[in-house]
């Protein structure tokens, strides 16, 4: 299968296509080249769900070697900093990635928060005349430490912590999840859906994106609220108008998480799987539709 030209409507073995793209070092690139953490995690999860143990074993070997001394993971080994991808790795079962390695990742995630929620930062901004001193911000998660929280990394972190909470109930973890969910709900756009960050910029409302809407809905799986209904309706509309496989995947996963996925909606004939994450998430969605949910567990 020619990777770049794979249409979502083609009936080919996607797990096999995914396995064929594994690099010699056990990881996956986004499209070609060196291995990165994000595509490697998605590919490992997808092949775990389809019962391909050997590529999963090699992927886990690559991931274990990439863990940094602080317990986090870098986007790729060349980058000397742990980032949001740590939470993606934590989606993997602890017995696969290693109990201790997984526990260190959870600690790293739990200790991470958007810079804007830091009390000292808020007081400093207030003293500099950058707005009123607000009550404590519900903390989300940043892409990179030392920066603000955003919808996508917050959603990924919430999914990791929720899986961990189910394995090991913990009041502090539960509280952190509650606050993270509040972060997402507070950033919902007027009328539903999520942009990648705030629901307004300089007083102008922002427009929701289909991919972040789907991902946020997935992260808010257990949440029942009127605002979720509006976002679910929007997600269903976006699904029918979808222009990218990335959005197609996240919308389906988000709607499936709330049991609102209309499986009769088909992708446009020219929608292409252009990257490893898109291919892997398509595999994961197919598996979830058959009852094998590797993201939620």
């Amino acid at each position: 299968m020619s990777f770049a030209k794979a249409a979502l409507t083609e009936t080919v073995s996607r797990p096999q296509a995914l396995a064929a793209r594994q690099n010699a070092d056990g990881g996956w690139s986004y499209v070609r080249g060196v291995s990165w953490t994000e595509p490697t995690v998605y590919a490992a999860l997808a092949l775990l769900s389809s019962g391909e143990p050997e590529p999963v074993r090699r992927a886990v070997q690559w991931l274990r070697a990439a863990q940094r001394p602080d317990g986090g993971w870098p986007p790729q080994p060349e980058v000397q900093q742990s980032t949001w991808v740590t939470a993606l790795v934590a989606w993997l079962p602890p017995d696969l990635i290693g109990q201790e390695a997984h526990a260190r990742a959870i600690r790293w995630i739990a200790a991470s928060a958007g810079e804007e929620s830091d009390a000292i930062f808020r007081v400093r901004e207030w003293l500099l005349g950058q707005g009123a001193l607000r009550a404590r911000e519900a903390p989300g998660w940043p892409w990179v430490p030392g920066t603000a929280a955003w919808v996508a990394p917050t959603s990924v972190a919430l999914l990791a912590l929720r899986k961990e909470l189910r394995r090991n109930p913990d009041a502090r973890l539960e509280n952190r999840i509650t606050l993270g969910r509040r972060f997402l709900l507070e950033r919902m756009c007027r009328g539903g859906g999520w942009n990648h960050g705030s629901n307004q910029a300089l007083g102008y409302p922002t427009t929701p994106y289909p991919e972040t809407t789907g991902l946020a809905l997935l992260a808010l799986r257990d949440v029942r609220a009127a605002e979720i209904d509006a976002s679910l309706s929007l997600a269903q509309q976006y699904l029918r108008e979808c222009r990218s496989a990335d959005a197609w995947n996240w919308l389906r996963l988000g709607l499936l998480a709330h049991r609102r996925l209309d499986t009769t909606v088909l992708p446009a004939a020219d929608l292409r799987l252009r990257t490893v994450p898109e291919l892997a998430l398509d595999c994961l969605t197919q598996a979830a539709l058959q009852g094998h949910d590797e993201i939620f567990g």
Binding site: E78, V144, G197, Y209
Partner: protein, 294 residues
């Protein structure tokens, strides 16, 4: 003294652009024979009918011109800051339709192999930055922005366009660390990290008001180009009715930064006065208004 800046009239996105661009580049005597050229347009959102993205016909005209000039390799590369699905974005913006074999030519800078670079001159709080190898290895980096206002910096032109070089695969979507390091300061540092640059600004139809996304289309009918990217941006500002002396990232940060006063920039082609087209500014930026275009 800044290098010369060209202003040429370009009435529309049509076949005349190919000859216009060839003449424009010939004016600046760029030697790209046997070299690698990377074209960096501005791709932002899935809005093909809007003026958010650099027009694909202009990019293709520039691509063909550099090939005709003997460049060994010409790549089109971008790393959008808001949307991760870059190829879909490019498709929606018309690049697949307009540029033959686009996918073979294009590099998603967000997902490119990276090298850690220690900035030679640091104005922002960024000490080191992971940058995409495709851009670092270019013999000539050509910034091809849209002529737009910007709700944080006042204007987004050739220098601000370099934000798309910072890989989202490392820093996320958006590249928020640039904001935390100081937007204007980061623009300056990124510009310094790429010493071999050329700029061609798509000012045929730009964006005014609440740019760079939610503004409205503004016809200016020009291309503005030159090796001195600061001078190109200063010229664009004047055409837009913005005082470049009030744009923070254009201000000199070292004694080596040339003056951007109008009288210190050698304009080729049209004059600023003849092409001036004041762009509407949001209320917060009314203070950037230029007193007179010349």
């Amino acid at each position: 003294m800044p290098a010369p800046v060209s202003i040429v009239r370009a009435p529309a996105y049509d076949q005349r652009l190919y000859e216009t661009v060839r003449r424009l580049l010939a004016e600046h005597r760029l030697n790209v024979r046997g070299r690698t050229v990377v074209l960096k347009p501005n791709l932002v959102e899935f809005e093909p009918q809007s003026t958010i993205n650099t027009h694909p016909l202009l990019v293709h005209a520039i691509y063909e011109a550099f090939r005709a000039m003997g460049a060994a390799e010409v790549r089109i590369a971008e790393g959008p800051g808001h949307r991760r699905n870059t190829l879909d974005l490019a498709d929606a913006a018309g690049y697949f339709h307009t540029v033959p074999r686009f996918e073979e030519t294009f590099v998603d800078l967000n997902l490119d192999d990276v090298t850690r670079v220690r900035l030679a001159r640091q104005v922002s709080q960024i000490e080191k930055l992971y940058l995409p190898n495709t851009a670092l290895r270019a013999d000539l980096l050509v910034s091809i922005p849209k002529m737009k206002t910007h709700h944080w910096t006042g204007a987004t032109l050739s220098m601000k366009n370099l934000f798309g070089l910072v890989p989202g695969g490392v820093y996320g979507w958006p590249k928020n660390m640039l904001h935390w390091a100081g937007i204007n300061e980061s623009i300056v540092d990124l510009h310094t990290a790429f010493p071999r640059q050329f700029a061609i600004v798509d000012g045929i139809v730009g964006m005014e008001g609440n740019g760079p996304i939610q503004g409205t289309a503004k016809y200016a009918g020009v291309l503005v180009a030159g090796r001195d990217v600061r001078a190109v941006d200063a010229t664009c500002c004047r055409i837009m009715g913005i005082d470049p002396m009030k744009i923070a990232y254009l201000q000199p940060h070292t004694p080596a930064d040339a003056s951007l006063r109008a009288e210190d920039i050698r304009q080729l082609g049209e004059t600023v006065a003849a092409t001036a087209t004041p762009f509407a500014l949001i209320r917060e930026f009314q203070g950037l208004r230029l007193a007179s275009p010349a």
